[in-house]
Amino acid sequence: MGVKKEKHKMPEQPPEERIHNFNEVPLGYPVEVAVEEAKRCLQCKNRPCTKGCPVEIDIPDFIKKIAEGDFDKAVEVLKTKTSLPAVCGRVCPYENQCEGQCTLLKVGEPVAIGRLERFLADYERMKGVKPPKIPESTGKKVAIIGAGPAGLTCAGDLAKMGHSVTIFEALHAPGGVLMYGIPEFRLPKEIVKSEVDYIEKLGVEIKYDIVVGKTITIEELRREYDAVFIGTGAGLPRFLNIPGENLNGVYSANEFLTRVNMMKAYLFPEYDTPIKIGKTVATFGAGNVAMDCARTALRLGAKKSLIIYRRSEKEMPARAEEIEHAKEEGIEFKLLTNPVEFIGDEKGVLKAVKCIKMKLGEPDETGRCRPVPIPGSEFTLDIDTALIAIGQSPNPLISQTMKNLKVGKHGNIVTDENGRTNIPGVFAGGDIATGAATVILAMGAGKRAARAIDEYLKSK
């Protein structure tokens, strides 16, 4: 019997409907489809897929249990390695990770590992999550800074080892980028909340409204806690540094997404935080953040939503699925185009952007072709709103207030592969160490650091 060459399709909200709401786009596998998809797995002995997963999920094992219809057991297998499966099953760039290693790629599409992971997490949530076993206390206390994926994962794992864990979070909600960055239609906030609930049930305490470095210093935390993990992310937005960037109508992706997602500006005036969206919205950049901005703009009522990117389609860093969804929704891509100036009216309101055409030159240090401007190719586009999504840098607050902490040239905290910084007892991981990366890499870092912290606590 031959294996089906393609992944089973996942039902989705049709594009013409979904651009008018903030509900989730993919709807998840029904039970029968999940089982059929799981049956595509060859149960390879050398388990290549597992090596592609930064948190080393036992992929063939959980898939086997799905194929057998034993979903509870499958969840159990999954949860030994990840504490946020509903999140990863939705936002992981699996095409480059687990699925990118799948044997089935030789004959067609890989097993839909991400979709199966999501299926299980959703199955478990519907059923009501089993309260986790809380182990005996070791009497050791760990402070975690930042409730993003890195911090949450590290906290969950340490709690499972019996340590007493407190998370200190600057904002009023947990999840980091999962809450304030990634939009509702891609990652419903209820899901983030329920994943956080699970971690709290493990005994982790989350304290909000605490900006470490301001409200409390790391030195104070070190006095009270046996170890500290820094997972403060890459929250500092980059700007283009071109004229007119401070005009009204130009937002950083972070401001735009925070207003809409965390502060729920799409429900203004029921919620107090406003957002303004024009008829024509241009997003600069082509990563996941850019796709989120462009798609959010449509849902807020923009007539036209453009992605402006200085390289070509091949170099776009966003997940394949995001690009596809964006195209289906009618986002226009203006590639090999770079902005040079924002133009405003007499009231300081954005009305146009001047751009220049680019061509691809020699590859740069990242291996991607360096875009170079084509002289004399400038042109002007009328736009009402500009969203700058060209990346974020590590937040400098902690390193500024902890002078002896070793920091790299991009402001990232320097660690070894297990999250140890140059200061004993101080660990770090996620975007603050790597620069803006992915949810699963941040979780992987949190996991390895939890192990290193456990070793450190035992050796003390």
Binding site: H172, N254, G348, N395
Partner: protein, 276 residues
């Protein structure tokens, strides 16, 4: 949750509240601010720390009711609780012995000026305070500020108290009288800070202003609060809120503060309909 321990009405639409927030009080310094959110649907707004009591674990805020959030806050009473209250944020004022400092406060800007006046006096400066408002009923904290000032000048636009005129007129007179001034602090409406900065620039007197752009997180994450200072983009919530007044692009700040006027008006109307 952060309890309101005390509420006072300072003038018609200016209220003072003492909030229980021990961690903020512990670290607060003059010139810093908090971000607060009243309830689940609320906006995060910045307010300066007008005073703090480390022993009692309290932080004082003084705010003018200008829109939805501040009006709603104004209806809350002692015993009520605020959902989020985070700080102290921003860089503290630079407190040193400069010599003679002139402290200019306009309207609700008088409130954040007060702890700076106090600290500068304690640091051994000769402190001249100039307080101004549209009319008498909008003046506040005169006694408190006077206690830490060597000289105090009061002015109102309509002459209902002190001299009739603007704070910049009083400052000009001091300069004309040959007073040697080392540093000027100006905290108040953007236009006032601009006028004061333009004036002192002519005389080369260093001037510190405290900016009030629209903020969202207050931790350096969103860039909503960006201001142009000496041609460079700065984030007021982490790099400021105090900056060199001679370098600030006030016109851009004024425009940026108009970003959501229509939405703000709309939110206010809805609030009025609810009878607040």
């Amino acid at each position: 949750m952060y309890e309101i321990l005390e509420k006072k009405t300072l003038s018609e639409n200016v209220k003072l509240m003492r909030i229980h927030a021990p961690l903020v009080a512990e670290k607060a310094k003059a010139g810093q601010f908090v971000m607060l959110r009243i309830d689940e649907k609320g906006e995060r707004i910045p307010l300066t720390i007008a005073d703090y009591d480390r022993k009692k674990g309290t932080v004082t805020i003084i705010f003018m009711e200008v829109g939805k959030t501040t009006k709603q806050l104004g209806t809350m009473e002692a015993g009520d609780k605020i959902l989020n209250f985070v700080g102290p944020l921003g860089q503290p004022s630079e407190i040193e012995k400069f010599g003679t400092v002139v402290m200019v406060g306009g309207g609700v800007g008088i409130a954040p000026l007060y702890p700076i006046v106090r600290e500068l006096k304690k640091a051994g400066n000769y402190v001249i305070s100039i307080l101004g408002a549209r009319n008498k009923s909008l003046l506040m904290l005169e006694e408190e500020i006077e206690r830490f000032s060597d000289e105090i000048h009061i002015c109102t636009d309509d002459g209902s108290k002190g001299v009739k005129g603007f704070v910049s007129d009083v400052l000009q007179k001091l300069i004309d009288a040959g007073k040697k001034i080392d540093v000027v602090w100006a905290v108040g409406p953007v236009i006032m800070m601009k006028v004061v900065s333009d004036l002192t620039r002519k005389y080369g007197i260093r001037t510190v202003v405290s900016l009030n752009p629209i903020m969202v997180d207050g931790t350096g994450m969103c860039g909503s609060c960006r201001v142009s200072v000496g041609g460079e983009t700065k984030f007021a919530c982490v790099d400021g809120p105090e900056f060199d007044g001679h370098l600030v692009d006030f016109d851009n700040l004024m425009l940026r503060n108009q970003r959501f006027v229509e939405e703000e008006k709309h939110a206010c109307k809805l609030l009025e309909r609810r009878g607040i």
